[in-house]
């Protein structure tokens, strides 16, 4: 693996990623002709984030699932992102240090 190889990869991924970022925005007006596209795009944030994280949470094991459920509960009751996030991290840390069960 040479430096040229790495730089080639960086170059193409950079160009491709930028193209994806910009084209989504620039083509969105043309997407409008599709029926219900607004409902579709409205739901994208949630479905995309769920697809991104749920498999990883499951892979973390039972403690990951428990910590996520507690995160949801705190967010639902208190609506504080920082509190919800740090509680989850704290629980996972306790567990991994053998302090939980």
């Amino acid at each position: 693996m040479s430096n040229i190889d790495i730089l080639t990869i960086i170059f193409f991924v950079a160009i491709g990623t930028y193209t994806l970022r910009v084209s989504g925005l620039l083509l969105s007006n043309r997407l409008k002709k599709f029926k219900n596209i607004d409902i579709f795009l409205d739901s994208i944030p949630a479905t995309l984030l769920i697809s991104l994280i749920v498999p990883s949470i499951i892979k973390t094991g039972l403690i990951g699932i428990i910590a996520s459920l507690i995160t949801i509960l705190i967010m639902y009751k208190v609506k504080n992102v920082l509190l919800a996030m740090s509680t989850a991290v704290f629980i996972v840390a306790l567990y991994r240090n053998g302090l939980l069960f």
Binding site: G16, I50, S51
Partner: protein, 227 residues
């Protein structure tokens, strides 16, 4: 505009803790893979997408198959197309030059924060940009500290820091929840994502399950509107 930039920057600070950690882990991995800091910095500046950078570094081997690495990385980043499309309403009065500049700084984190904030009170495109700047700087600093001071953070997993990113997004998704239909779609999408992740050899499951979930969402809500 200045205020919005600052608000966006500040709103992303809580998340930046996990971005910093995530970056530090990448920095540590880069040293073990023999990647120079300059190469890491080029990735941070020009690619600026955490999961794709992880994947690239992870896939580097000798001999390396360049096209496989590039296509896999772009496959994960395909979600930026959807993210870009969902941002249309923020850019209605923005010049092309600004669009081309601002879009480079859009990340999962700053986008998610902007979208959830926008549901409560309207925010402008500068809020999005401020968030992007925050993540950009923190990401860079995170990879830098991992690269040069990695040995001090011997095991980030022991502190549960790898979970911060997942917990954060879980919290953000919860804040997006509105109706019972949402819950149905969220659960179905989650199940599809878990299944597809096992069936597909690459990261394309992220795109596919988001698509299926959103199509079902359209179907459910359209039917309700018709009734």
């Amino acid at each position: 505009m200045k205020n919005e930039l600052k608000n966006g920057f500040m709103a992303n600070l809580p998340i930046s803790i996990s971005v910093f950690t995530y970056g530090a882990v990448l920095g540590i991995i880069c040293t073990s893979k023999g990647i120079s800091f300059l190469q890491l910095a080029l990735m941070n500046i020009f690619i600026f997408a955490g999961s794709a950078q992880f994947l690239i570094v992870d896939m580097l081997s000798s001999p390396v198959n360049i096209s496989v690495v590039v296509w896999s990385a772009l496959l994960i980043n395909l979600r930026y197309f959807l993210i870009g499309a969902s941002l249309n309403e923020f850019f209605t009065n923005t010049s092309l030059k600004k669009r081309l500049f601002i879009m480079h700084f859009v990340t999962d984190e700053s986008w998610a924060v902007t979208m959830s904030k926008n549901k409560k009170q309207g925010v402008s495109v500068f809020f999005l940009l401020g968030g992007g700047f925050c993540i950009f700087i923190v990401w860079f600093l995170g990879t830098l500290s991992g690269y040069y001071f990695g040995e001090f953070i011997s095991n980030p997993k022991l502190y549960g820091l790898d979970f911060a990113f997942l917990a954060l997004f879980t919290a953000i998704i919860t804040s997006m929840y509105k109706t019972k239909n949402d819950l149905i779609i969220y659960l179905i999408t989650a199940i599809i994502a878990v299944l597809l992740e096992k069936l597909l050899a690459n990261m394309s499951y992220i795109i596919f399950s988001a698509f299926i979930g959103s199509f079902l969402y359209v179907y459910l809500n359209k039917r309700q509107n018709d009734e």
